[in-house]
Amino acid sequence: MIQLNVNGTTRSLDIDPEMPLLWVLREYIGLTGTKFGCGIAQCGSCTVHIDGEPVRSCSTPVSAVIGKHVTTIEGLNSPTGKAVQAAWRDLEVVQCGYCQSGQIMSAVALLAHKERPTDAEIDAAMQGNLCRCATYVRIRAAIKAASKQPV
């Protein structure tokens, strides 16, 4: 049995400790907002927070998060999280939307460290999150809007 704290709820799961957190979230807990894009930490679609830090859940064995707090897009309710989601909506960032849970999780983690990131800091922090729809212009703008900087 593995004890997992996800979005504030503790669950006991009978799963292989090596299974990547991504698939545990998606297929055993039913939190499908976190997406599979590459499986090798190259695209960022699977980004979640572990104790507040952004982590690629596709490449994190579930055993590595025992005793830690996992937050997924479904559990994002910090003021920063809400501000980012609101900016995403106001600026109409999404297209296909598939990468966007990961983008938002990375953006929230960035703003938790840097209240007012510059363009270069945004690019550096978001560089691991691919968007094949290339919504990058609006991602940049939305992060600025969420951090109350002129867009």
């Binding site: 292989d16 299974m19 990547p20 698939w23 998606r26 297929e27 055993y28 039913g30 939190l31 499908t32 907002g33 976190t34 997406k35 599979f36 894009g37 590459c38 499986g39 090798i40 190259q42 695209c43 679609s45 997924t72 897009i73 479904e74 989601q85 995403w88 909506r89 109409e92 999404v94 297209q95 296909c96 939307g97 598939y98 990468c99 966007q100 849970s101 938002i104 945004i122 690019d123 550096a124 978001m126 560089q127 999150n129 691919l130 968007c131 094949r132 729809c133 290339a134 919504t135 990058y136 212009v137 609006r138 991602i139 940049r140």
Partner: protein, 729 residues
């Protein structure tokens, strides 16, 4: 063109069968066969028999007693904003309250939901969604509005002409009476269906032309949007497929013992595409596949390398191909020319690589087969699945979910990945739902690519260095050959999608010849966002720059002088260069390039500003002008210009799929490079005001960026780069 018949579905079915909230008014518009048909993008005319005279209703709209308005989209939402667009067209004429409108994907049913540009088939592609629905959806909304008005007039005993409708409220000023749509829905359903509706003039639009918020945003921001990969059904199993290492290889034998020994693995079954490993979850299935031993028969497998292919194409380009356009006497003009310029352009194979890898959920039961999919080729897939299962197409029920991108990939003419999932479900025989998921490696290596192309261009110049003749020879695999579209899209031996963007060269020259070689290779190929224009725009717009230079003219002035009679090309060109500040000087190592191109009846010009430093191309600013007819939603248009350009920029700077001895060399995003945020330039988008019917915006920005950047690199460095992805030497 408009002879549509509008049918009230409410009385036929929905009033009796639906639950109270959903009951009310449901309307459809029946297009008469042939109305509005034209050839554009993939068509399915050959594969689906038309049943003349047998028309069932197209249901596009449902008004509930709870005031909810559901627009049923016949087109797939894959990021391009279709759901919002469909809703806007209906809501505009309905005078609905935008907040009340929601959108639902239509079931697969060509009789009701066909793409009016695709003959009798339902599907999404070729940037046709808005263009083919423009009149149809507005009529659906207008007819419903009229029935609501009639119902109110009857109830209030007033004249219909005295009734006003605004933002979901029907009102009569003189009596002060008001009703919301929901209160009138049942009564409206009893009204006769208007056969002729008056549509608004452009200056009466309240939603069209406004930045209406996207309908799919909220659920894509909170993680609740459902993609195929998110479907969960009772007893569902997950499958992964071991595909052959090279195209054309077949399973000789396999040993399932290792796979079956992995925890969670339930079945190992052979299917035509390879061997499927089925487990309770994806990770277990994938581990099972890693442990599976397959011996492949590679005796007939593809064995070429990209270099060899290019060499072969170069040799082919020496001899004449099948002529796709012939105007004047190109050979004669070249022979007489004072000078002949010649250049070779080439582009590699490309994967579509949408963020959501190919996936599909299938359940086979006694009544047929049910599919959950980001469904882009509804009718084609229905027929293909029916063929495999030996059932009728209408027994294949398809749930159209959001697609996590596609860029053409999910509209596979052979229904490839859908059939893989169907074959697995069929082999299991148990009726359990199967979710097949491709890994990213499968997505890169299991095929269907934008073909590699080589262009050989020759231009004759007169004594003043002005062009007198244009000859363009294109070599590359035909996308349409061997598909259901062959008869429609291959004309006199020329695949129209191989030459589009070149055969319709807009520059006014007396002598133009375009010819084509379509070698057959085992590499499976498919349309990729903007199809033929992905390569023709690059070759044409770069070579035009070369001609401008030869003529001693500025690239913009040169284009202008040869685009007379093409006002829409000129319109976007002039707008883009004006906004970009075309003639402002740039510093050393920097350059500005321009390109203009029409695809899918939309016109796009782009000006790119680049800096080249230590061999790296930095694209810093891109100014885009677009003419797509009446703009439906400027915000969505702007987003498609940004994103479409960005998708093309990835292929301009980085993406390349190569073969070595028949094997694909790339496997995932670490070696198949995509555009990342730090490579995304600043983008400005300007929309040309228009009164023309709207045309597509999903694709037309994509092909323009490669030539704009290549021309900018030339301006910055003096290097003409004629191969994608661009590499400064």
């Amino acid at each position: 063109m408009k002879t549509d018949r509008i049918v009230n579905l409410s009385r036929r079915r929905f009033l009796t069968e639906s639950v109270a909230a959903a009951a009310g008014l449901t309307l459809g518009v029946l297009p008469i066969a042939g109305a509005g048909m034209r050839e554009s993008g993939p068509g399915l005319a050959g594969s689906v028999p038309a049943e003349a005279g047998d028309f069932q209703p197209n249901a596009f709209l449902r008004i509930g007693r709870d005031n909810s308005i559901t627009v049923i989209s016949k087109h797939l939402e894959m990021g391009q904003g279709t759901y919002t667009g469909m809703a806007t067209l209906v809501a505009e004429e309905l005078d609905a309250d935008w907040e009340q409108v929601r959108v639902e994907g239509a079931p697969a049913d060509a009789a009701r939901y066909r793409n009016l540009f695709w003959g009798e088939a339902q599907g999404t592609g070729g940037s046709t969604a808005i263009a083919n629905s423009w009149t149809q959806m507005r009529k659906a909304g207008a007819a419903a509005r009229q029935m609501l008005v009639e119902a109110a007039a009857e109830r209030w005993q007033v004249k219909p002409a005295e009734i006003d409708v605004k933002a979901g409220v029907v009102s009569h000023a003189a009596s002060g009476k008001k009703a919301r749509f929901g209160e009138l829905a049942d009564a409206a359903a009893e009204q006769p269906v208007p056969q002729d509706v008056l549509l608004k003039d452009q200056d009466e639009f309240r939603l069209i032309g406004k930045r209406m918020p996207r309908k799919d945003s909220p659920e894509k921001i909170d993680g609740s949007a459902k993609f195929t990969i998110d479907v969960r059904l009772p007893n569902m199993v997950t499958a992964v497929v071991a595909h052959p290492p090279r195209f054309g290889a077949k399973v000789r034998s396999f040993d399932a013992a290792g796979a079956k020994a992995m925890p969670g693995v339930k079945h190992v079954v052979q299917i035509p595409a390879g061997v499927a490993v089925v487990a309770g979850d994806y990770w277990s299935a994938k581990r099972g596949r890693d442990a599976l031993q397959v011996e492949w028969d590679e005796s007939n497998a593809f064995s070429m390398s990209s270099k060899q292919i290019l060499e072969q194409y170069r040799a082919l380009a020496k001899g004449p191909g099948t002529v796709g356009r012939n105007q004047g006497d190109t050979a004669g003009a070249l022979a007489k020319a004072a000078k002949v310029m010649e250049a070779e352009y080439s582009v590699p194979y490309l994967a579509h690589a949408p963020m959501e890898p190919m996936d599909c959920v299938v359940r086979i039961d006694a009544s047929g087969c049910e599919i959950w999919n980001g469904e882009q080729m509804n009718t084609g897939d229905q027929h293909a699945v029916a063929g495999v299962l030996g059932i009728k197409p209408e027994q294949v029920r398809i749930n159209m979910l959001y697609a996590g991108g596609s860029f053409g990939r999910r509209a596979n003419p052979k229904a490839d990945y859908v059939l893989e999932a169907v074959h697995i479900a069929k082999a299991l025989k148990s009726g359990v739902p199967v979710k097949m998921i491709w890994s990213r490696e499968d997505d890169m290596r299991a095929g269907f690519y934008r073909p590699l192309y080589l262009h050989r261009l020759r231009a004759g110049l007169n004594d003043d260095n002005q062009p007198t003749a244009w000859q363009q020879r294109i070599v590359g695999q035909s996308i349409m050959a061997g598909t259901a579209f062959e008869s429609m899209m291959i004309k006199e031996g020329v695949d129209q999608t191989s030459v589009e963007g070149a055969a319709n060269l807009p520059y006014t020259l007396d002598n133009i010849q375009i010819d084509l070689h379509s070698p057959r290779l085992q590499v499976p190929v498919q349309w990729w966002r903007s199809v033929g224009s992905t390569h023709t725009a690059f070759a044409v717009e770069c070579f035009v720059d070369e001609l401008a230079e030869a003529a001693g003219k500025d690239p913009v002035a040169f284009r202008r002088s040869y685009l007379k009679g093409h006002p829409r090309h000129l319109g976007v060109l002039n707008l883009a260069v004006e906004k970009a500040g075309w003639s402002e000087p740039m510093g050393p190592g920097r350059g500005r390039g321009v390109a203009v191109h029409e695809s899918f009846n939309s016109y796009v010009a782009q000006v790119a500003e680049v800096t080249v430093r230590r061999g790296v191309i930095y694209v810093e600013r891109v100014v885009i002008a677009v003419d797509c007819g009446i703009p439906i939603n400027p915000d969505v248009i702007e987003a498609q210009m940004q994103g479409g350009m960005g998708y093309g920029l990835a292929a301009t700077l980085a993406s390349e799929l190569t073969f070595k001895d028949g094997r694909v060399e790339q496997s995932n995003f670490h070696d198949y490079l995509s555009l990342r945020i730090d490579q995304m330039p600043e983008v400005e988008v300007y929309i040309v005001p228009s009164t023309e019917p709207p045309t597509g915006v999903g694709e037309p920005a994509t092909p323009v960026i490669a030539p704009a950047v290549a021309n900018a690199v030339y301006a910055a460095t003096g290097q003409r780069l004629r191969q994608l992805p661009l590499r400064v030497v």
